[in-house]
């Protein structure tokens, strides 16, 4: 039976830089630099290797504030490759694209269809003869779309396979502003066979009479976009059955690695647990590189030492990663605590000091004022792009100050602990 096959992706965010401390390592920066570009090249390669009929791009080709024509030229070059291979491209603009000027200046090869601000339905070319395929799409020229767009799409073409492209935040995501919100039920009621969505960076697939796919970002850019990122390779049979395959294109994969130090009481044991945790994670990694953020948790007698010597742990982890290959350590964090959460009388002066800090110093108005002063002084010195990094408003600023002071106090107590007592 003949089938219409296409690759569906969205939220390419071409040339949007990765955000990780691990990139301070020049080797890694060279390996996974421009990862969004490389992931896009791999997507194009996939289309050509699989000899698909089309590539569907459901919005957000690049970041909104981006004005570099180099990015646009790269995109055009890649789509030109597809055109030469006889593969069509269907594009709708997302919220970021709408704000970007380079979209307007760019000329695409004839194999590319860019949907305009009015809903349109375009018959697709097929490599194999069969049931006609129609692609529906709608781009928005404004960066905001507070209302549902489903009703504006054209009705499905009878006796054809209808595919819809839409950039939408669905029921509303916490990580993004609402953009063309709509419900899954609205989409399923539109009468299309496949909805190719974009906007939310996490992958989700809904099957049924209408397959609805949010492919997720093809290359995670920081630890909050963790996990293996991919595109969807879709096979639409003439009888209407749909097969969706996930294909990894991401170069690097961000992962949080949590290591339980519970009960570990020697440094060698801790190093082994860290290596074990990293190894387990690496075994699950499907991208080329693992970029790990390590977090140590649990009650252990080493809690203070861990806090004080995080740099040593990071060193060990980096040595492990260098030997394992294709693994990199972004940062090491701890929230380990000593085993007996000292409940009795304050026998140990250091414990007493810690409790004084927690119970008397941190909550005091005087200290809060001093901490806020320290924060404000620094904020005044930061470059503009970072001024809001420590809080958007007074409430979040206060929360940040409180958290930093608590962590900082624990750091300092750990250092006191660690001097003569480390032996």
């Amino acid at each position: 039976m003949a089938a219409y096959r296409f690759v569906h992706t969205a939220d390419i965010h071409l040339d949007s830089p990765l955000r990780s401390l691990a990139l301070r390592n020049q080797d890694l920066a060279e390996l996974i630099g421009n990862a969004t570009r490389q992931a896009f090249e791999r997507t194009i390669d996939l289309c050509i290797e699989e000899q698909v009929d089309a590539l569907l791009l459901a919005g957000d080709l690049y970041d909104g504030e981006q004005t570099s024509m180099k990015t646009a030229r790269f995109l055009a070059g890649q789509l030109h490759r597809l055109g030469q291979a006889g593969i069509e491209t269907f594009i709708i603009r997302g919220n970021h694209d709408a704000a970007s000027r380079i979209t307007r200046e760019l000329t695409f090869p004839p194999s590319v269809t860019v949907f305009k601000g009015r809903a349109d339905a375009v018959p697709a070319q097929r490599r194999s003869a069969g049931v006609p395929v129609v692609v529906h799409g709608l781009s928005f020229a404004q960066p905001h779309a507070p209302e549902s767009l489903v009703a504006k799409y054209k009705p499905p073409v009878a006796d054809a396979l209808n595919i819809g492209l839409m950039h939408t935040s669905l029921g509303g995501s916490t990580e993004h502003d609402p953009y063309a919100p709509c419900s899954l039920r609205d989409l399923q009621g539109a009468g299309y066979r496949y909805w190719a969505l974009g906007h939310i960076h996490k992958r989700s697939v809904e099957t049924g009479p209408c397959t609805v796919v949010m492919p997720g970002i093809p290359q995670g850019r920081d630890i909050n976009e963790g996990g293996a990122k991919s595109v969807s390779l879709v096979t639409l049979e003439d009888d209407g059955s749909v097969e969706v395959e996930e294909r990894i294109v991401s170069l690097a994969q961000f992962e949080r690695v949590t290591v339980r130090a519970e009960g570990i009481d020697d440094w060698a044991g801790l190093a082994a647990a860290v290596a074990d945790g990293l190894r387990r994670t690496q075994e699950t990694v499907r991208s080329d590189h693992l970029v790990a953020r390590l977090r140590l948790t649990g009650a252990t007698p080493l809690a203070w030492r861990i806090r004080r010597d995080l740099d040593l742990i990071q060193g060990d982890a980096e040595v492990w990663a260098a030997m394992a290959g294709a693994a990199w350590i972004e940062k090491v964090e701890t929230d380990c605590r000593p085993p007996q959460a000292a409940s009795g009388p304050a026998a140990d002066p250091l414990t007493e000091l810690g409790r004084l800090i927690d119970d008397s110093v941190l909550p005091s108005a005087a200290f809060k004022a001093e901490a806020l002063q320290i924060m404000r002084e620094l904020q005044g010195q930061l470059p503009p792009e970072l001024r809001r990094a420590f809080g958007e408003d007074q409430a979040s600023l206060d929360a940040m100050v409180e958290a930093l002071a608590k962590e900082g106090a624990a750091d300092v107590v750990a250092r006191l602990q660690g001097t003569t007592r480390a032996g």
Binding site: P17, L23, A29, N34, R73, V361
Partner: protein, 1151 residues
Amino acid sequence: MRLRRLDLIRYGHFTDQIVDFGERAEGRRDLHIIYGPNEAGKTTAVSAYLDLLYGIRSGAYAFLHPEATMRIGGALELGGRLHEFIRIKATANSLLDAQSLPIAESAIRAELGAIERDGYCSMFSLDDDSLEEGGDGILKSQGDLGQLLFSASAGLSELSQQLAKVRGEADAFYRFHGRQTKLAQLKERLAALKKERDAIDTQASHYAELVQTRDRLAAQHAAAIEARGAVQSRRDALQRQLLALPRLARLRALRDQLAPLQTLPEAPQAWAAALPALIRQELTLAAELKANARRIAELEAALAEMMADPAALAIADRLEGLGALPARHATAVQDIPKLKLELDEIDETIRSVLVQLGRRAETEPQRLLIEAAETGRLRDLMETRSGIEADRQRTADELAQAAQDLQQAETALANAGGSTSGEDARIDALSKAAAAARAVDHISRCRAARRLAAQAEATLQERLAALRPWQGDGTALANLAVPGEDEIQGWQLALTEAQRRIDRHAGEVDRLGAELTRLTAARDAIGETTGLVTDDAAGQIRTAREQAWAAHRSTLDEVSADRFEAALRRDDHVTDSRHLHATALADLHRTSQELAVRDAECKRATEQRDQAAETQRSLLGKVASAAGHLSLPAELSVAQLKDWLARRNHALEAKRLAQEARSALDDAADDAALAVERLSAALTAAGLAMPDAPALDALLVAADAAIGAEATLKHLRAKVRDGDQEVQRRMRAAAQAEAAATEWDTAWTAACADCWLGATGQIPTPAAARAILDALGQLGPALTARASLMRRLDSMARDQTLFAEAVAALADPLGLTVTDAAVTAKAIRDRVKAAETAQAKRRDAEDALAAAEQESQALADAKAVLADAKGKMTALFDVETLEEVEAALSALARRAELTAQRDQAEAEILDALRAESIGEAESALDAMDRDDLLREQRDLETRFDNEDASCQALFSKLSNAIDAVEAIGGDARAAEIEERRRTVSVELEDEARQYLRLRMGGAAAEQALRIYRDRHRSSMMDRASEAFAVISRGAYARLETQRRKDSEILLAITAAGGSKEAEQLSKGTRFQLYLALRVAGYHEFVRTRTPVPFVSDDIMETFDDFRAEEAFRLFADMAAVGQVIYLTHHAHLCDIAAKVCPDVQIHVFGQ
């Protein structure tokens, strides 16, 4: 918690080493010194103690016992009860109870609270290094009281350094007005990267302009190219027309040449190629036909002359049938004489054998042969014969020798006076008694016991003498009633305590006395300088005023009025004065109050001192009474009394040893007497004469002689018994050999009788029989050879007869006469061979003739085919010969060539003029003028050059425009820089976060230290102050504090009253201050918690003896509230400790 006992079962280099700290006696100080040389394992023991509490740490102390077998035991007093624990090396359940069952860690940890191992080390142990670091810490803290109290309690010496480091790290990132900070560097990098990016990046607006320019130039360029193309095509047409004009002339010439050739008929294409071969074939065929006819005539002539021999050919088959017969005939003629000679030789051999056997006349030698089985049986018997004979001889010889040996042994026994019968059991008994007597060994035992007794007695006397002035013997000494050791220890402790109290209270009295004097002076001074009166005086004046008023009121006269006025004025004056000097008055009040307090304290101190003195007197009375009871001088001190009692114990020990030595001597004498009695009895029983002196030695000599004689006889009797047994055995062997010989003779006779050897009735000897058998060995083969020769001779004679008959039968048809069969046979063979040769030659000639006739026919056929082909060609051109045909074909080829040239010329002209037909083209060309054409061509060249230059200029511009658009490219350079910029930004954010943590954490810690200071100041300062005065031996009187900004500074007050800040103290004094603070920290801990053992490792190496004494005094104070363990390898420190604290217990290591 208290450590009662530490068992180093398997740990470090220890095996089953136990350190027992004993029970803590009420009222005694719990101070222990572990003394041992370097490397004795003191540090190992401390580590073991910590491992017992917290678990065995990997690696460190596994050098003798592997980790898996390491084991530490111990008894800990927890919550007032004693618990036994065992610690092993295991990942879980490493703490065991006394029954080696796992027990929860909380069994120990509950009492330690949140103190981890490291915390224990810093809080409850002290060594040289930590003392030194502590001293440095004081300097670095700049006397900050909070930090000092905290670091002394926690045992953390680098507190201030760490706080400074935290601050330093934060400052490295950002400092107000700091220029070289990390923050500044990162910001610079961000700016630089932005600049770099802007330089290479292209913005969208600029891109739009570039595209527009490019598109405009592309259109202009296309138009210019079109114009240039039009000029070029006209120029090309002119060029072609100019070339076509000469071609027309040539075309017309070709047409003229073709005209005469048009009449020739067309011939098939293949003729021209085939013609030369046909001409050649015609000639060859004629020659070959002639040669073949001549050869046939020659062969027919030869056949007519050939002859044949049919008779000889007829017998050829039969001659072959003779087969091997002629050869066998020839062999027989040669061999028969030789075989007859061999037969004669064999007959001679047979005759000679018969002579050897003595059977000359035997006509049938065959009969004499003996069967192989019989021969074998005879030979077997002959071989066994010699062995049987030798056995018989040997056994007889051995029997004779055995009989002779027996006789000699019997003679020797008779000579020794013994008989062959029975042994003597009594001698056995005697032998056992002698051995028992020797085992007693009484002589050396007696000697040793006597020596010991004498020594012990001497020692006893010496030690009794050492007890003077007491006098008496050992028994009297043992019976003395003496005071118990505990009682004396009690007196000693109480006396020391009393003396200490006296000293302390006396000192207090002195100090308070001086204070009283000072305060009185101060109070008086206030009064004197201001004219103030004291409250008492003021009260008196007020009372006087009231009294005067009362008096005046009752009398109301002048005198009372004056008096009242005077009293009133005085009171007013005093009140005014007191109002005026309110501050001084407050001082006066305070001084007076203090004076009252000090006075009360002074009195209390005096009372306490006197009470202590009274206690001391009462104790000394008890000691004197005890001494008197022992007839010792009453002024004896407790130590001397203790010493006398120790000497008494020594004397009693000597007495016990003397007693033991005397008992040993008696035992030895008793054993000797018993041995003599038993040995005498044994000698008598054996019927032996008793020696003259019945001493044990003599008795042993007699017994040995009797035992020796009996041993010799026993040996001889055994020899006779053995000889008799040997003779019996040899006799049996001789009889067996004789029987074997008889058996052989019988078998031989029977064997000979079974063949012709015994037929004569006379049995041959084995030797004769062997000779006969050897001769018979030759006879058999000779007879066999003779029979074979006879058969061969018969066969040869038969072959000769058959051959002669066959030759005669063949000779007859050929008409030959037989003389010698062999000669005739050769003649017949020659005749047949000649006939066969002639027959073969004839057949060859006949074959050659047939072949020649066949070839003749083939040549005739070929000639016919040729004639047919030739006919077709000559007919077409109407000629006779093939040569004429050749000329016609050549003319045809010429016509074809000219036609082709004409067609090409026409095609070229059509192409040049782009015309439809040649006629049209010819008329067009005829109308053209060559000169006109050349003129037009020159004009066009100029126009084309102009158009081309315009095209090139536009193309260059367009290329540049395209390059400008392409130069933007899709490369990742800008994105790479942006990514680097993002990384720097992330780094900056992370570092900023770290900065904030350090700054806020540092601030929190400093505030917490201030609260800590205020919480612990009062309780710790008194104790530290007191300890500092002690350890500085009074050089410093006390510690005080002074507020400075928001911190509080520690001051040391010298004996002379001056104050010094921490940095003004000498290094040694800072150590002392740190030690004092640590002591206070320990007391502070004990104030709120159950005590924990304090372990200190040789901190006094650099102390002089006086300082060490004071240090031990501090430890003794700590030992009053908790267990203190001090490790040292200095023996003199043990003495100092014992002097300062008699309760100290010393545990010696490494012995």
